[in-house]
Symmetry: C2
Subunit: 321 residues, 2 copies
C-alpha cells in the first residue's frame, strides 16, 4: 500500500508516517518544511519505506506527480498558528482551504479514493454544550483557523460525493507528547527557561482544554479508519479529561523542578481573540469503536515537558514555529 | 445610509436594491454582469439613489474603493450553478469562497461592520431531519456549491469575531417570482417552448423542494436584519410548503396552456449528483420574529411562469445563465 502524508514532517504527521511504515506501507512524506523537521523522519526513512519530498501542496504539478499510485492520503499540511488569523487574514485561506482543495484536485486527477484529514475542535467555536458532540450545531466560527478547517471538511465531503472518495475528518483537541513543538506547553517551557521566577499566562488561567497524547491519537486514527466505513466521517478525537491552564502551568513548573514561580495573568476568559474558554469533546463515536485514551493529561504533559527538555534544539527554533 | 450590494443586478439582488432605495438608502450595485442584467436596475437607478459598478468582487482595488463609506453590505455575488461543481471543480472555490473572502477583506479595510449573506439550504446536504432546523448537524456536504456556501458562512463568522462585524447568513430554499432567470421553472418553460409535447424531468420527479416567492423573501430578509441582533446569525429562510418536481411540471404546463404533455424522467431519486431529494427547512427562527410566507408555492410558480412568458428576452440568453 502506498500512502502520501502531507505535512508528514510535522509533530503528528511524522508519527503517522512511522505507524504506516510499521504497517508495511510505502510512504511519500510531502512537506514544505516550513514548520516540519526532516530529522523526525530519520527512523522511517532509514527503513527504505518512507521518502521525503520537499514541496508545497500548492505546487500542483509536484503534488499530482507524487500522488500517482497512492491508495490513501493523510492530509496534515496546514497553517497551525491558531492565533494569528486576526493579523494575517489570508494565511488560513491559502494554506488550509486552497491547500486542501489542491490535495483533493490531485487525488481526483490521480484517482486516489481515501483521505484522512486533521480538522480541529476549533470548528465548534464557543459551543454551548459540553462535552461537545459532532452533531452540535449550528457551529459558529470564532477564528479564521477554525473557519478554514470547517471549509476544508466541507470541500472534502463534496469530493467524496462527486468522486467516490471516503474521508475521515478528525476534529482534534490539542495533541501532546514526543516530537511536540508548538503550543502552550512549548510556550511555558520556553518562557520558564528565560525567566524561572515568573510565568506569563494568557487569559485568566481558567481556560479548560483537553489534551490527547500522541500515542492515543495515532491509535485512535487507525482504529477509526478501520472501523468507520461511511463515505464521509466526521469524528471527535479527544480526551474525557480536561485541565485548566493554571493547573497545566503548575505541572510544567513541577516537572521542570521549579518552585515558587509567580504566575502573571494577562486577563480575560480567553487567551487570545478566537480562543475558546472550554474545549471538551464528546468522544462517544470513538468509544463506540473501542477507543479509550490511556495516557492521562497530567502524565502526558509531564512526558511532553521531558521531551522538550531533552531536545533543546526545538526550543532554539522559535522563529520556525 | 450607504449600502453596497454585490450581485445586485441578479434576480434576488436587484429586489434588494429596490427595497434599499425604497428605504432611502444610497446604493452601490456591484456586479460583474456575468449573469446579472443592468435592465433589472432601471427603476432604482432612475431615482438617482442607485449606481451600477460593473466590476468583479475579485477586483480588490475596485471593491475597496466602492466600499468606502458603506454601512452595510449585501453579498450576493456568487456562482449560482448548483449543479456544475463536479465538472468545474474550481469555480465554487474561486467565486464563492475567495469572492466572499475578498468582500470581507474590503469590509475590514473600509471599516464596514454589517453583512448580509445569501447562503443556501444546500449546506445541509442530505439531512435526516425534516423540516431541517439551523442546529442540525453534523452537516455533510454533497456538492461543491454547498461546501462553498458553508465555507463562506464560516469566514464571515470569523471576521465578525475579529473585527466586530454583525452578520445575517440566510440559508435559502429556491426563490421564484418576478425577475427569476435561472432554475427548474426556467428550464421547464424553455424546454416546453422548444417541444410542447414532451418534457424531460431530471430524476424520478419525486424530489420535493420548497420555493419562496421573492416578495416573501425580501420581506423576510429585512425583518430578520431588524429583529435579530446577535453578532452572527444563521437563519433558514424557506416556506412551510413544498412541492414535488412532477407536480411543479404540471403547474408549469397548465399555466402555459399545454395539455397532454408527456413527461420523460431521467430516473433516480436525485436530479443530478449532489442534488437533494428533499429540501424542507424549519423556519421557526423566522416565525419567531413574525415572518410567514404569504405567497403559496403554486401561486408563486404560476406568477414565475407568467413573468418568463412576458419576458422572452430572458429565455433567449441561455448561454449567459
Amino acid at each position: 500500500m502506498k500512502a502520501l502524508v502531507t505535512g508528514g514532517a510535522g509533530f503528528i504527521g511524522s508519527h503517522i508516517v512511522d505507524e504506516l511504515v510499521r504497517r508495511n506501507a510505502e510512504v511519500v512524506v510531502y512537506d514544505n518544511l516550513s514548520t516540519g523537521f526532516a530529522r523526525r523522519l530519520e527512523d522511517s526513512v532509514s527503513t527504505g519505506h518512507a521518502r521525503l519530498v520537499h514541496a508545497d501542496v500548492l505546487d500542483h504539478d509536484a503534488l499530482i506527480r507524487e500522488m500517482a499510485g497512492a491508495e490513501q492520503v493523510f492530509h496534515l499540511a496546514a497553517n497551525a498558528d491558531v492565533r494569528g488569523g486576526k493579523d494575517h487574514t489570508r494565511v488560513d485561506v491559502d494554506q488550509n482551504i486552497l491547500g486542501t482543495h489542491a490535495v483533493l484536485e490531485a487525488m481526483r486527477i490521480a484517482g486516489v479514493r481515501r483521505i484522512v484529514f486533521t480538522s480541529s475542535a476549533t470548528v465548534y467555536g464557543e459551543p454551548e454544550v459540553f462535552p461537545t458532540p459532532e452533531y452540535y450545531g449550528p457551529i459558529l466560527q470564532t477564528s479564521l483557523y477554525g473557519a478554514s478547517k470547517l471549509a476544508a471538511e466541507a470541500l472534502i465531503q463534496a469530493y467524496c460525493e462527486y468522486f467516490g472518495m471516503r474521508s475521515h475528518s478528525f476534529r482534534f483537541v490539542s495533541w501532546i507528547g514526543e516530537r511536540y513543538s508548538h503550543g502552550v506547553i512549548y510556550d511555558f517551557v520556553k518562557k520558564l527557561q528565560e525567566d524561572p521566577t515568573e510565568l506569563e499566562i494568557l487569559g485568566d488561567g481558567n481556560q479548560r482544554k483537553s489534551y490527547l497524547h500522541v500515542e492515543d491519537g495515532i491509535r485512535g486514527i487507525f482504529l477509526a479508519i478501520e472501523k468507520m466505513e461511511a463515505p464521509k466521517n466526521v469524528i471527535n478525537l479527544g480526551h474525557e479529561e480536561f485541565m485548566n491552564v493554571t493547573d497545566l502551568a503548575r505541572v510544567v513548573c513541577n516537572e521542570m523542578g521549579l518552585a515558587n514561580v509567580r504566575f502573571r495573568f494577562t486577563g480575560g476568559i480567553r487567551g487570545w481573540l478566537g480562543d475558546s474558554p472550554l474545549v471538551h469533546l464528546d468522544i462517544s463515536r470513538m468509544k463506540a469503536v473501542g477507543f479509550s485514551p490511556k495516557v492521562g493529561i497530567e502524565e502526558g504533559v509531564r512526558r511532553t515537558v521531558r521531551y522538550l527538555l531533552a531536545n533543546p534544539w526545538l526550543l532554539d527554533t522559535r522563529e520556525k514555529m
